[in-house]
């Protein structure tokens, strides 16, 4: 796996949102939603991205797809810097990267028939006759396990899990290389969630997909990911292979995050670290290491000097002055 080239390379990417106020929309500050993040995703792997709400993981995903443009930094998709490509070229690139959203209700147009939702990318990007589109839609519906006789129905006639399958069918319609799954299974019930996860793993194997899998459910991320990146307040604090990360987290935040998950096995006693306070505002992040205000191991140096993401072992980067 480690020999695989990077499909997506992210170097020092930043995304700042201006805070505007008053009559003239004066810019009084910036929310640093993503601040100097670097990592890479290899072809064929699943890269999990975890972190709490407001840590910038969804913003990062949208920046990677150029749904939002980056404030700074470089994003290379298949060797091409997506910040520099023109409109026509971007249109071609977009076919290779797709996204599956969290909310299976809000992400499907309620006035479109299911076949039109799944067929829309084909009509936009491919010169296909109506018949060809219909055939491809049927093929896609079979691939994701939807009943093809229901293609002339509206999204509201489907359950949450089935709607998510519709979203997946739409995402793979153009044979993309790269799919961002932004909390794609988070809104689903457990019994349905496992069905959708199995489908995503099967499609990855059959179609050779690369996933960026964003979720806050750490057990789900662990199951599906080859490597995991942990974000805190706009920063990537640790990147590691899944097994390494769970066996021995090196950043204190990762350790805290892992210890906080309630486990469905009551007989195990485990160490639990309970953090004080809330996540600080990204408009006014703490000085030095952003985690120092809540870190159980913080020292003087953490308050003043910001740690860099450094390589500490094979496939492992940690941004901490005193890694565990």
């Amino acid at each position: 796996m480690s020999q695989q080239p990077y499909l997506l390379e992210v170097n020092h990417v930043k995304k700042y949102f201006p805070i505007k106020t008053g009559l003239f929309n004066r810019v009084v500050g910036q929310v640093k939603a993503v601040d100097d993040v670097s990592f890479g995703i290899r072809a064929g792997e699943t890269f999990g991205l975890v972190g709490e709400s407001g840590c910038g993981k969804s913003t990062l995903a949208r920046v990677l797809l150029k749904l939002k443009s980056a404030t700074g930094g470089e994003i290379k998709f298949g060797g091409q810097d997506i910040a520099r490509v023109g409109t026509g070229e971007l249109r071609r690139l977009r076919q290779e990267m797709q996204i599956i959203f969290q909310d299976p209700y809000g992400s499907l147009n309620p006035r479109f028939l299911v076949k039109d939702i799944i067929g829309e990318p084909l009509r936009v990007h491919r010169r296909m006759s109506a018949k060809e589109v219909e055939d491809r839609v049927v093929e896609l519906m079979e691939l994701v396990g939807l009943d093809i006789t229901r293609r002339n129905r509206y999204p509201h006639e489907f359950s949450g899990g089935q709607r998510q399958r519709i979203g997946i069918a739409r995402a793979i319609a153009l044979n993309p290389k790269f799919i961002v799954a932004d909390e794609a299974v988070s809104a689903l019930d457990v019994s349905v969630q496992s069905q959708v996860l199995n489908l995503m793993m099967k499609l990855q194997k059959d179609l050779g997909l690369t996933y960026l899998f964003i979720a806050h459910g750490l057990n789900v991320v662990r199951h599906i990911s080859d490597r995991i990146g942990v974000m805190y307040l706009g920063k990537m604090v640790e990147v590691a292979r899944t097994d390494d990360l769970f066996a021995s987290p090196m950043h204190p935040y990762t350790k805290v995050l892992l210890s906080a998950i309630p486990q469905a096995s009551p007989n195990r006693t485990k160490e639990r670290i309970i953090l004080q306070g809330d996540v600080p505002s990204p408009a006014n992040p703490p000085s030095g290491c952003r985690f120092h205000t809540r870190c159980p191991f913080a020292q003087e140096r953490c308050r003043v000097e910001e740690p860099k993401l450094e390589t500490l072992g094979p496939d492992r980067q940690v941004a901490c002055h005193f890694p565990l």
Binding site: E52, S53, S159, G160, G161, Q162, D189, V190, S191, V192, Q193, S194, Q195, L197, N198, M201, H216, L218, N219, V220, R222, H223, I224, T242, F246, V256, L257, L258, S259, A260, I261, P262, Q263, A264, S265, P266, N267, R268, R272, I274, L275, D278, V279
Partner: protein, 352 residues
């Protein structure tokens, strides 16, 4: 047998629709002993929230109708009470916290004022004393500088802080029973850990009993004494935490536990799935309501509804395949199913 603070007996609650009454809970029977925590777990549409709202009699306002059954709170039936009698119980002796703390608070009053209101209404405290106690409550739920925070509005606080305020409000009158409906679902994991810790600490301090509703088996494993599993409006299994996790007896519980990806052990393989999806409440299947999704369904399951049968230890399950070890002749008694579970791994089911 310890004293029961809450006994729900055959509670059937429904909603009137164009197609007649749709039952959201169907003969739900649950018991909660004093000082204990009962977790009701289930997926969406299982009727767990409706059960909670029925206990509070808030279901009347949500358009629901309690068709049948009793809700005995310290031996008194709440179902037959008038709403003005419920006003004295609700918010005072039984209180409730909800999933979304932001919408549970009034945005135009300060949080201190909202807690004080509860104390003035139920304890008839004078203004100043109510304010003093509400600041005190904020301190108890771990809000730093409570004197300043009490004068703030909900929008000035984070989600975790707001949930603490809601808990402070719920506990202000020292209730006997706290009903928590998905109290940590909207919160991040690190904040969830804080709130769960706080709830269990306060439960001891205030000597309350707790009915906790959650979809998260992990949360249930951490806080519950007993767990009731609901599916499509009915309780299908009930037992102690260890019984539910280590010796689950209902195929739905077994399937649910197996579907959850673990935090250790093997990963990346195909996950266990329960085929199909949860039926809408207007189309609850005949016989056993789980039979269309059950891998062990037999003829009897399609026609006859299995009763919730109790083992000697008090572990209850509603399944025709289930063998409690007791001598009870059932129609077409099937092969016995043994459930074998090793701790930390997923349960396995084998036919013998």
């Amino acid at each position: 047998m310890a004293e029961k603070i809450l006994e729900i007996r055959n509670l059937t609650t429904g909603f009137l629709t164009d197609n007649g009454l749709v039952k959201a809970t169907d003969r739900v029977t649950l018991n909660l002993e004093k000082g204990q925590t009962l977790c009701v777990v289930g997926e969406s549409g299982s009727g767990k929230s409706v059960t909670a709202l029925s206990v509070m009699r808030l279901i009347d306002y949500a358009g629901g109708i309690i068709e049948d059954g009793q809700v005995l709170f310290n031996g008194q039936d709440l179902v037959t009470k008038r709403q003005n009698e419920m006003l004295k119980i609700r918010g005072n002796r039984i209180t409730m916290i909800f999933q979304d703390p932001m919408s549970a608070l009034n945005p135009v009053f300060t949080v201190g004022e909202q807690i004080a209101e509860t104390l003035r209404t139920h304890k008839k405290l004078p203004e100043k004393e109510a304010w003093r106690q509400s600041v005190d409550m904020l301190r108890k739920v771990g809000i730093p500088s409570p004197e300043i925070r009490a004068k703030q509005y909900p929008f000035e606080m984070s989600g975790g802080m707001c949930q603490r305020v809601v808990i402070a409000m719920a506990l202000a009158c020292n209730p006997e029973l706290l009903i928590a409906d998905e109290p940590t679902t909207a919160l991040d994991v690190t904040v969830q850990a804080q709130i769960l810790e706080l709830l269990s600490q306060l439960k001891t301090e205030f000597r309350m009993s707790m009915l906790l509703i959650t979809h998260d088996m992990g949360v249930a494993a951490e806080v519950a004494d007993r767990i009731a599993v609901m599916y499509a409006g009915a309780v299908v299994e009930e037992g102690t935490v260890s019984e539910i996790f280590n010796r689950p007896r209902h195929p739905y519980t077994i399937g649910l536990l197996r579907s959850i990806p673990g935090l250790e052990g093997e990963r990346g393989g195909e996950l266990y799935t329960i085929k199909g999806s949860i039926p809408p409440l207007s189309k609850v299947p005949s016989g056993c309501r789980f039979h269309p999704r059950c891998p062990y369904a037999m003829d009897v399951c399609r026609t006859n509804e299995p009763p919730l049968r109790e083992s000697v230890s008090g572990h209850k399950a509603a399944c025709w395949l289930d063998d409690t070890g007791e001598d009870d002749p059932r129609p077409g008694k099937p092969n016995r199913v043994e459930t074998k579970v090793t701790i930390g791994s997923r349960p396995e089911v084998t036919h013998s």
